[in-house]
Every structure is written in structure tokens, then in C-alpha cells.
Symmetry: C2
Amino acid sequence: MSNSLYLEYVQKMQQIADVNYAAAVLNWDQEIYLPEKGAATRSRQLATLSGISHELSVAPDLGVLLESLSAHSDTLSEVEKKNIAHTLKDYHRNKKYSTEFVIKMSQTVSEAYHHWVKARENADFNLFAPSLKQLVALKREEAAFLGYKDHPYDALLDQYEPALTTSESEKIFNSVKASLISLINEIGSKPTPREDFMFSSFPKDPQWAFGLDLLSNMGFDFAAGRQDISVHPFTINFSSKDVRVTTKLEEANFNSMTWSCLHEGGHALYEQGLPIEQYGLPCGEAISLGIHESQSRLWENMVGRSAIYWNHHFPKLQSQFPEALKDITANDFYKACNLVKPSFIRIEADELTYHFHVLIRFEIEKALIEGSLEVNEVPAAWNKKYKDYLGVEVSNDAVGCLQDIHWSHGSFGYFPTYSIGSFYAAQFFAAAEKQIPDLSMHLENGNMQPLLSWLRENIHQHGKRYSASELCQRITGESLNVDYFIAYAKQKYGSLYSL
Amino acid sequence: MSNSLYLEYVQKMQQIADVNYAAAVLNWDQEIYLPEKGAATRSRQLATLSGISHELSVAPDLGVLLESLSAHSDTLSEVEKKNIAHTLKDYHRNKKYSTEFVIKMSQTVSEAYHHWVKARENADFNLFAPSLKQLVALKREEAAFLGYKDHPYDALLDQYEPALTTSESEKIFNSVKASLISLINEIGSKPTPREDFMFSSFPKDPQWAFGLDLLSNMGFDFAAGRQDISVHPFTINFSSKDVRVTTKLEEANFNSMTWSCLHEGGHALYEQGLPIEQYGLPCGEAISLGIHESQSRLWENMVGRSAIYWNHHFPKLQSQFPEALKDITANDFYKACNLVKPSFIRIEADELTYHFHVLIRFEIEKALIEGSLEVNEVPAAWNKKYKDYLGVEVSNDAVGCLQDIHWSHGSFGYFPTYSIGSFYAAQFFAAAEKQIPDLSMHLENGNMQPLLSWLRENIHQHGKRYSASELCQRITGESLNVDYFIAYAKQKYGSLYSL
């Protein structure tokens, strides 16, 4: 009997997944191809799908089914039990949302996106402020009805990184802050490597082709995904057999495309590695944003910003752009890829100053959610923190508090996972180096397969079977430990800058 | 009271429209961007959306609401009354479909599409035959439960062209057949104008740009739509503010892009001209496929294949492709655009032989649906008819019975609207010529605005407010009359070929 109940559960979950993935297709299209005047009807289409998905996910008969499966779980396999446990937890959380709230949030988000685009184009925060006010109010409402122990922001963090709290995030940032500051300061006293050639001319067609090559080389399956162009690069999936990444091509900035391909490619490999037979079920989904980010950062930084990576790829790159890279060596290029310099834009930041971008956003979000900061005070607070933490003067809102898309998506509590992902990445990569024979040699030969197989086996295939900390324990023998990141940073930058 | 009921009705209809348009986005993506391995999950996503839309559209409370609004329609405006009448009719028709049937059809169609693509690539009908068998069986089942008076095919025709029957279609074809055959034969005895330059080299980038120019010139609003590339050009809309066309670029065939831009552009102008305030309601939707096709054919043929059109556009075209069009005059080009020559491919056919392509498909569909022809007999029957009607030997299935996408969409009963649309187009254009002062002069100056405004006012803005025959009466003073098409054809081709 239990078995047929489980099949009923699977059917219901997959129907919900179908609706959610359909909404994802509409979102993907919205950020890449939607014509301007189509915004309003697209907003309502997305809101309707959110409403339908929500109603399906809180349907009383789903609740009865879950309770029954949970009470008689002895005939279920371990993965089946995990699915039921996750879904039951989600069910109770979803029940806290009214359909009205869900539809309102979807509609606000969809409109906010268009306002954010306009505001950013015009470098004018005021064009986005009314939307942001609505979003913050909705998020405070959400935190209140979701409930939390210590801080309303905890309720939001938990959605992206289960079990992560505000105080835990603060502790993690505090444990890396000092080491990072001293490293950044030491580097600041050294001569700056040249990076001018990164901003010479890289024609778009061969740049696009080179990016596709990098993705292929990582193991991205183009029969189960594609790459397009968008304002803000992202990864989205409509099943593990249809995973889409986007990038941005700038003729006069080679960084833009390169790091987005490697970063989004890392996310995409995780999605493509999730088991399709678990479509729509927790064990077919990524664990958390922190673990997701560990995959993108591992490929972007540990692999993509390494000397051995460019030892392999630079000769081809140089042959594609002989003009721009005349007289440049692989080592010059490697140094330019790792130039540490405080700046305004998170996604263009180096691996070290990056975490201050995250910290600033975290502090501002926390203040907005707890109500100690008003929306109209955001630009001033933002600019002051950039001055304090990174010593840079933000010249306008477009490169300041409007730079990232996340708030327009209604995503608050998301940013800390960026740093945590980097720290997991360093810890996982250290384990991979120990466990994969001759890993460096393979990477230097451009052979990514051993690393990808290791990630598939240890991380991707499991979906939500293990929690983030269980997974980390299984792979590395301990829970998240930022020392790996600090050691990685000191070793790499110590050698790069002769510290 | 009635008013708040009407608002409730609007809300329900718009929710259904949201789901249907979401499915349309997934379909659009499926035909343009979907990676190969994503096909199976996309099929199930589409099937789920179809199922949800169907359940919403047959919900008992919608029925009660409609009956109540219909019984107390005295406080409703004329447009509101029309909306209720149409929806009530649809409601009763929709009730005849089980959710299982709808989901099965959606899933079969989605899989059939991929089989059709493969079959066409391999020019092998057998790869598509199993899907086609399933589809024919489903369509026969559909005709049976929908009901019909004389012929099962009537039930299918009615979905695309309300009130059109099999015998009426036969009557229409019979009334043009003789004139067309004698015209085609007369032309066959005359020297063939040159068209070799159409197949010289037209590099893709400027060709794409020229197509966009043609669309802009017609009045296509790129802020409310876009053009992409697909195997088979089509128009699709997600609201009148988001209308998408696709085209096909062939470097060695200038016809391919040109006629698809004008044809799909004509469809798109109709969709962009529908009233957005009637979103999701019958008066915000096109009347029928025949009327839709009248718009595409009017722009493609009456406008786009006219001498005055190319008098205006040819100089620019020649300057874009000086190599391909060296020593060619606007008149040479006009003649090549109207070369009459029996061929295999419907969408590449001239205005006269075109209708035999439609007739052949109509006869085969009718036979499949009534059961007098088996699916595996299709290629032979197809090829024989091409020999009989057009005197051409079909060299393989890819250019034969696999050439069109429609069957893979489950669209049976659709084809006659192609011919009927052409006949409406000639009749409407004759009216426009009478009613718009100096129409030819405007067109020759490249000014499409008077014609577009006339179409907007007389056709587009009304949605389903009038039936096809009411609309035709209103505009032309009589119902569909093929004499306009015959007169147009005789006049144009008589002069072109000095008959």
C-alpha cells in the first residue's frame, strides 16, 4: 500500500515541479528575450503560475498523504524517506503562506525587475525605491509569519541555506575578516601586475566561441542545456536535462564573459548532475545555495583562476586574439586574473575583496529587515560602507546599490551563501586534491573529467539526500571550516605577490 | 450584481489565459531553443499546463457563472454579451474533453514534434508514422465525442474556422479549381522569367537586417514583439503586447526569409492590433484561422508580391546585396517573386499552385479522419496526388508529406483555412483599394500606415466581436466570394505573363 501512496506523492510533486519549471521558463525568457511592452502581461502570467503552484503545494490531500507516508515510512527506501521528510517540512512552511501573499509577491517581483532595469540604466535609485519598499515590507511580513528564534533575518536565510542564522553568518564573517584585511593590505603595498590587455579589444564572435569552448571543456552538456546573453549572467534549470546559463559579452573587457562562463558553468554542472529520476523531488534538487555556490566558485576560482588552467588554455586564447594578447605570457595572464584591487562591482571583484561586497550587502539587508534602516537611506549607507571596508568612493547608484539583480527578485538572505559557498569550495577542493590521483596534472592537461566525476559522485548525484553539513562531513571529515579558504588564499596570493 | 459577476468571469478567463500563454512560451522555446535532451521533461511540463488549463475551463463554478451571466445579460454591453456567448459555447465544447484526453494529446503532440524533426532530418516517414498513428486515432476519438452532422472532419474544421464544413470546403475548392488550372496551364506555355538571382548569395547578417526592416516598415512593433530563427517560421503570441515571429535564413535562397517575414508579419500585426483590455476574453482574440490567414496573405501577396512594393524596396535591397542583384531591375525582381511553377513545398509555392498543396493535404486529412486511408499509405497517396494535381515527382518524404509541422502539432482541419484566408485576403484588399484614398500611391511610397490603420479599424480591433462572415459582410457588403481572388489572379498574372 505504502508504495502506491509513494507513487501518488511522486505524481503530485512532479506536477508542482512542472508548474514551477514552466514559471522558470517564463523567467528565463523575461530576462533575455521579453519585449518591453510584454512586461505587464508576463507579470500576471508568472503570478498566476505562482498561485497555482502554491495551491497545489498546500493542498490538504497532499498533507494527508505526507503524514500517512511519514507515519508508515518503514517500507520506504532511505532516499524515499528523505524526500518525504523534506516535503513534509516544506509543506508546513508553505502552509504559512497565503495564496494572496504568493501572488502579490510574484507580481511585485516581476514589476520590480523592470523598475530595477530602468533604475540601473539611469543610475537612479529613486526609480527602484518604491518597488524595494514594497519588497522589504513583504519580506518583513514573510519573516514574521515564517517565525524565527533570534532575528527576523534568520527566517529568510533559512530559505536559501537551511540552518544558517544571522549570528552564525556574523561569526563566519568575523573569522575571516582579519586575515583577509591583512592579506589585502600586504598586497596593496606590492607593485600591481598589469591587466591593461584584459581591456583591449576582444571581438564578440570569437569571444562567444571561446566561452562555449570553456563550457564544453568543463563538461557542460550542450544537448542538455544552452548559453544565451543577458544583462546579469545567471543559471536556471527546467530539469537536469535542460540547464541554461547566460553570459555577458563586452568587447573591451575579457573578464566579463570568462568568469561568468566558468562560474555559471559550475552551477550548471551541479544541475546537470542531479538525478533525473528524482525529477520534482527533494533528492533531485540542490541542497542549498551555499553548496550550489561552492560548485560555481570551485570552477571559477580554484580551477579557472589557477596557473595550471591557463597553462593549458592560454596558447589557444592567444591564437584567437593575437592582437590583444601580443607579447603576453600565460603567467602575465594568470597574474591579471588574480589582481587584487578594491572596487565597486561584486561580480568583477577578486577572490579576496569579494567577501566585503557580500558582507556589506548582508549588513544592509539585515538592517532593512530588522527595520533599523529605511529604503531611502540605502544608497548613503551603501556608499559609506564601501568607503569604510574597501576604501572606494562609489560614483553612482548603477555601480553601487543597484548593481545586483537579487533584490528585484525579492531575494533577501541570499548573499551570505556567496561567501559560504567560496569557503565550502576551498574545503571541497582541498579534499579533491587529496582524493583524486594526479589532479593537477589532469587539470594542466585540460582534462576536467576526473574532477567532474568526483563532484558528480560526492555531491551532485545526492540532491538533498544529505544536509550541507552532513555532506561536508562525508567528503572532508569535518563541518565547514574557513581555515581551508584562508590557507588557500595565503598560499596562492603569498606566492603571486611574493608576500 | 451582474457587473461583479462579469468581473469574476473576467478574472477566471484571464487566469486560464495566463496558463495557456505560459504554455505558449514553452512551445515557442521548444521550437527555437530547447536542447535535445530537454524534450521529455518539456513534454510533461506542457501536458501538466494543458491539464490545469482544461480543468479551469470546465470548472463547474465557471459553468454556473456563465449560465447566470447569460440569463441576465441585459446589463451587459454588446462586447460583454459576445464574450459570454463565445465562452459559454467553448465551455460546453470543453466539457466534452476529459482531462486524461487533454493531457494525453498534449504529451503525444510534444513527443510527435521531436519525432517529426528527426523524421524530416532523415527524410524517413517511418520515424514519424507511429506518432502520426497515435495522433490520427486521438483526432478520430475527438471528432466522435465532439459530434458532427455530416462528416467527422467537420468537427475538426470547426475548431479552426467556426461554421466551415467538409462539403463547404469542397465547394470552395471546386469553384476555384478550374480557373486556377486554366491559368496555370496558360502560364506554363509562356516563357519562364528568370529567378536565378534569388538563389545566388545573400549573406545572413544583412539578410536578417533587411527582414527586420521589412517588418518595421509594415508597422510591426518591436517593443511588443520580436523575431527569432526556427526550422519552420511561425507566429505566436503571449498577449497582444508580446507577439513573436520566426523566420528562416538561407544564404542561397532569398525567398525563404522574405516571404516568411511578410507572411508572419501579417499574422503578427493582427495579434498586435487586438485590444489588450480584452486580454483572455474572446473579443481580445482572433476570429478564426481563415481571417488570421487573410492578414498574412494580404501582406505577403497583395502587398509584398506587388510591383509597387518592390518599386519602393528594391533600390535599398539592391544596395544591400550589390553582388547578387547586379544588373537586376525592380521589374525583374517583381517577376521572379511571382514565378508560377508547380513544386513540392507549400510554403515556397506561388500564389496559384499554392492552393493545390492545400487541397492535397485537405483530401489526405479527410481520408485519414474518415478512415479510408491508413497512416502507412500516406507517402504513396501524397506522392500520387502531387503527380496528378501538379505534375511533379516527389523525391523524398522530407520534401513530401513531412514538409509541414502541423500534423506533429495535432492540427488536423487546419489546412483549408490557408486557402480560405487567401480568398478573404483578395476580397478585403479589393475593399481597401476602394475605401482608402490613394492606397497604391501610399504603398509605392513605402507608407503602410493607411493600410494598417484600415485593417486595425475594420478587423483587428474587434477580436471575436463579429463572426468571419459577419465581418466580411461589414467590410465588403457580401460574404466570402472567391471571384475576387480569381479576378485578382487573372488580372495580375494576365499582365505579368502577357496572357
